[in-house]
């Protein structure tokens, strides 16, 4: 909590005016104060699906070693924005991203950067657990293999084990590493996907509603895991559960109809939101 609380101070919220103005103002001040702790910075990002604009002028800073939650009503562009950060939107026909996003100060759209390397540094966990229809071991080992992270089988074994351990799954599956990954329960599968993302030692982990397909017990396990992981990674989580956002995140961003309506410390957003729309949303008046 300590790192995050420091950040909260850097994000004062301007009391009035439109969200766009608010967010850009926030960022400008954030920029000045954030320094080396900002892992990902987005500036004036617009996303279009064909002619339709899904994200309008969003600017956000994602700090190192903390959890940022994206909340907002369905269809407001949370996933779309999340997918910009590791350029998953490149794979969608007709999707266009403008604006600047940097990772450690490096422009991720720089042609000298290979998108594959970007995705190795920015891991992603999806809404529905999507293990490869292969063995548990192969699921985790795949990333390290294609990135040449292990020099031999023993090293690879080690990566697989430590990733599974970090994902809190190792004890449950250590006897059936050769069993199919799709044979696990939903919660286990999701943790397997997290282990798979961790195995390539990313710096940022993007999670798009990682718990929406899970029961409360599995959700609790994943949340616990997120809490542990934030010691090493910058984590962004999209969620529809206010409680979850409140439980796991230090910073919360509220999206509405493609714009970033409000961003601030989680505590602030949930106890004292400045934006009317945020207020309405978290108190359940719409969305």
């Amino acid at each position: 909590m300590n790192d995050a609380s420091k950040l909260q101070v850097t994000l004062p919220i301007t009391p009035d005016t439109s969200a766009a103005v608010a967010s850009s103002a926030m960022v400008r001040e954030g920029e000045a104060a954030a320094g080396p702790d900002i892992k990902v910075a987005a500036r004036n990002v617009d996303v279009f699906y064909g002619d339709k604009q899904a994200i309008k002028d969003v600017s956000v800073d994602i700090p190192e070693r903390s959890v940022t939650a994206f909340i907002g009503p369905s269809g407001c562009g949370k996933s779309t924005f999340l997918r910009c950060i590791n350029r998953m939107n490149d794979t969608i026909d007709g999707c266009r991203v403008t604006g600047e996003i940097t990772l450690d100060g490096l422009d991720i759209h720089d042609p000298s950067l290979d998108v594959v390397e970007l995705r190795a540094r920015v891991g992603m966990v999806f809404q529905k657990p999507n293990p490869f229809p292969k063995s548990i071991y192969e699921n985790v080992a795949y990333g390290p293999r294609i990135h040449g992270l292990a020099r031999g089988r023993p090293e690879l074994d080690e990566i697989v084990e430590s990733s599974l351990r970090k994902a809190g799954l190792f004890e449950e599956v250590k006897d059936r590493l050769d069993g199919p990954g799709t044979g696990l329960s939903g919660g286990q599968q999701q943790r397997l996907c997290i282990a798979r993302a961790i195995a390539v030692s990313p710096e940022v982990i993007l999670m798009d509603e990682p718990c929406s397909a899970l029961d409360p017990i599995a959700t609790a396990k994943v949340e616990e895991l997120i809490d542990e992981l934030k010691a090493n990674y910058a984590i962004i989580i999209v969620t529809h559960s206010m409680q979850q956002a409140a439980r796991v995140s230090q910073q919360t961003a509220f999206f509405h109809l493609g714009v970033l309506a409000e961003i601030g410390s989680t505590q602030e957003i949930f106890t004292n939101p400045k934006d009317k729309r945020t207020q309405d949303y978290i108190t359940g008046r719409f969305g």
């Binding site: 290979d114 594959v116 390397e117 294609i146 990135h147 040449g148 992270l149 020099r151």
Partner: protein, 486 residues
């Protein structure tokens, strides 16, 4: 050095490049794969590609160009006086090539040595006999000038091949060295290798275009040839088809077209009602068990090769129709007839019509059915008044596709319809079709360049155009229909 060996050498160079490239990439990164952009294997692959692809391209281009150049050079050696009466330069050049090949063969078999050939004179030695010994037949005795041309041809070929070999190997080595020298830990070898693979994928997908192009070109080219020898007007409007061995043939498409359409009409008259009613029954009435058995059983008919239907027409249906209909009714005595071919082709088309109609009927939304039942209509009224009208465009599309099949079908008509080109209405008489005549004109013994053979290409082109139009219209109709209910 022959081409096979050269290909092998290039591959060996490329393979060596793979191994070396892999090793070097590891070395430059001090064994730290993590710091490399691409896995060592990709570095190897990129060296492999740089070594092999340009080399093979050079080789292909060379092999295409060399014969043209050499042909030019050598034919300059042939004086007009060397060309016999009634022959032409191209025939003499064919002789030159054949002699050159024969000499190669003779050397390969040890019947002659290079020294012997170099000192040999065509007018002094029995060259023709020697070549006959190794199985190469030359029509007439060889003139000295032709023999000299053949020697020149061999010499140029040999030089050409040698230069090409040197060049190709040089290109391979240079390519390998170039990409080897570019290896650094940050070199994007994977992107290079993947771009090459992607190029291969694109190339593969152009095969479909190339095939269509090949079909159109070969048909149009030879058809143009044909129309040079035989007036297009006669082809399209002459009412007789009567090819002659010695020229003066009548090659009118009309009787063939008539036969084709007649047989197709009979086939559709069988297939459309049966297929459509079967599809309706299966879609609207049949219990799941009946459907589960009858549908695949009918579809078996679609998996049976047409030669089987052809044999069925020839040995079973044809004789049956002749013995029980044609002869008692005095309508003919031939076992091949329009009716034979049409009936059997109709059977073949049943599954075609039924499965397409089945799809179409199933695409009609349940809501339309419910609406009709809600008004108290019986099932058959619903089918006739609601479903069929709604599905009509799709069914029309299915029928058009079946018609295109019928028109292009070959084996059934070859074996069932007969070979006589006739404009007759009697379905129990033998008639013939476009496809039958394509087969008979192209499998006969006539000279390829004669109009009697070339007419097959004009027939093929007509067939291609007609079926293509039918298909395009049908696909369009079906697609429109699908979109309507999506």
């Amino acid at each position: 050095m022959n081409v096979g060996l050269l290909i092998l050498i290039v591959l060996v160079i490329a393979a060596a490049g793979y191994v070396l490239g892999r090793r070097r990439s590891l070395a430059t990164a001090d064994g730290n794969i993590r710091g490399m952009h691409s896995l060592p294997g990709y570095h190897g692959q990129s060296v492999f590609l740089f070594a092999s692809v340009p080399a093979f391209l050079v080789m292909i281009v060379w092999l295409l160009v060399q014969p043209l150049v050499i042909e030019n050079q050598v034919s300059a050696l042939i004086q007009p006086s060397d060309i016999p009466e009634g022959s032409s330069l191209s025939l003499v050049m064919a002789d030159v090539r054949r002699i050159a090949d024969g000499l190669d063969l003779a050397v390969a078999r040890g019947a002659l040595t290079e020294d012997q050939i170099a000192t040999m004179r065509a007018d002094l030695t029995n060259l023709r006999g020697r070549l006959a010994d190794v199985g190469v037949a030359i029509a007439a005795d060889v003139k000295q000038s032709v023999f000299v041309a053949a020697q020149e041809y061999r010499a140029l070929n040999k030089i050409g091949l040698m230069v090409m070999s040197g060049l190709v190997i040089a290109v391979a080595v240079a390519g390998a060295a170039y990409s080897y020298s570019r290896i650094t830990p940050r070199y994007r070898a994977r992107n290079v290798a993947e771009a090459a693979i992607k190029a291969l994928l694109i190339l593969s997908s152009t095969v479909a275009i190339l095939t269509t192009l090949g079909i159109i070109l070969s048909l149009v080219f030879e058809t143009a040839h044909f129309f040079n020898l035989y007036p297009a007007r006669d082809f399209f409007f002459n009412l007789t088809w009567n090819p002659q061995f010695r020229g003066g043939s009548d090659l009118g498409i009309i009787p063939l077209l008539w036969g084709t359409l007649y047989v197709s009409f009979v086939a559709l008259a069988v297939a459309v009602p049966v297929g459509l009613l079967a599809a309706i029954y299966l879609a609207e009435y049949a219990s799941p068990t009946v459907r589960g058995i009858a549908k695949p059983a009918i579809e078996i008919l679609a998996g049976i090769p047409t030669i089987v239907y052809g044999l069925f027409a020839l040995i079973t249906v044809g004789p049956l129709l002749r013995d029980y209909f044609a002869q008692p009714l005095g309508l003919g005595s031939s076992s091949s007839s329009v009716l034979t071919a049409g009936l059997v082709m109709g059977i073949m088309l049943i599954p075609f019509v039924s499965s397409l109609s089945d799809d179409v009927i199933n695409a009609v939304p349940q809501a339309m059915r419910d609406g009709s039942y809600g008004l108290g209509a019986t099932q058959s009224e619903t089918v006739k008044k609601v479903i069929l009208p709604a599905a009509l465009p799709g069914i029309v599309g299915a029928i058009l596709l079946a018609a295109s099949r019928a028109i292009g079908e070959t084996m059934i008509v070859v074996m069932g319809a007969g070979a006589a080109a006739k404009l007759s209405l009697n379905p129990l008489e033998a008639m013939t079709t476009i496809t039958v005549k394509i087969v008979s004109q192209l499998t006969g013994d006539t000279e390829f360049a004669s109009p009697e053979t070339l007419v097959a290409f004009a027939l093929g082109l007509s067939l291609f155009v007609v079926t293509l139009l039918l298909n395009i219209v049908a696909l369009q109709v079906v697609r429109r229909y699908r979109e309507q209910y999506e």
